[in-house]
Symmetry: C2
DNA sequence: CTTATTGCAAAACGTTTGCAGGTTT
DNA sequence: AAACCTGCAAACGTTTTGCAATAAG
């Protein structure tokens, strides 16, 4: 893999944006520092960076892929209210038990939680109980 | 939700095809029994059946959605060699520990294993060790 | 000088949607 | 009759691709 200004910039963005940006978000941010950059190049570079193991792809059902600078294994919570994706650590022993219980030759595992993040869960609670919120 | 021949047929197909068919596969099979059926209708009905809880959607990263007649919670293995999706039971205690450890208000969880299914893992082994396979 | 990488635009892909007409209740 | 559902085709959002031009080694 040859050096390229564009790929370096894409990697920088993924490492700078810690909120699991989409390709489009990475593109919009990178554009500020490299006018003329094209979205296709961002996609191509994200693919090679994922393949090279420098970046992780975070697939979210029914949503565009996100990208993660954290390389160690963890799970994600997709909040259906605010759209935010947050990292969730998992008990190491639970992971080991999961991995050990699998037949075949597993190379990867995608674990995604769907629901409300902590702050949306709180807000939602407040909305559901307006009386309590007014106190 | 009103009765419709097309929706009934889509449901039948999901229940008949136990290999996690895609919308396209369901469409192709249903077409035999209902010529003139349209793909859009299959998508619409799959969506309403999922919403009604009669069918489960199985999202596979980078692949079209699959649909599952099994309603109880389980995980899936996507074989990157043959493309097959197989059900994988999970230890109930492990699931409970996973769910309990989550913050926010989780409503669903998608757990997908990526790798080789048992038969592809075997074949792959045979290819990698041709001498052993010849014995 | 060779070949990877780029920007651009077009296409691919899976899926949704608007509409006019047909079905169910 | 009112609502729902259909087929059709067009549109959608995300991602990939073919191409000629540019940049890296």
């Amino acid at each position: 893999m040859r050096y390229s200004k564009q790929r370096e910039l894409v990697l920088q963005q993924v490492e700078a944006l810690h909120d699991h940006p989409t390709a489009e978000e990475i593109y919009q941010n990178a554009l500020k520092e490299c006018p003329g950059l094209s979205l296709g190049t961002v996609y191509r570079n994200l693919n090679s960076l994922v393949e090279a193991g420098r970046v992780r792809r975070v697939p979210i059902p029914g949503q565009p892929d996100r990208f993660d600078h954290t390389l160690s294994w963890h799970s994600h919570l997709y909040c259906t209210r605010c759209g935010q994706v947050t990292d969730l650590a998992l008990d190491a022993e639970v992971i080991r038990r999961l991995l050990e219980s699998q037949p075949g030759r597993v190379t990867d595992c995608v674990l995604t939680w769907i629901g409300l993040c902590e702050s949306c869960a709180q807000e939602d609670e407040a909305i559901k109980t307006p009386v309590a919120a007014a106190l």
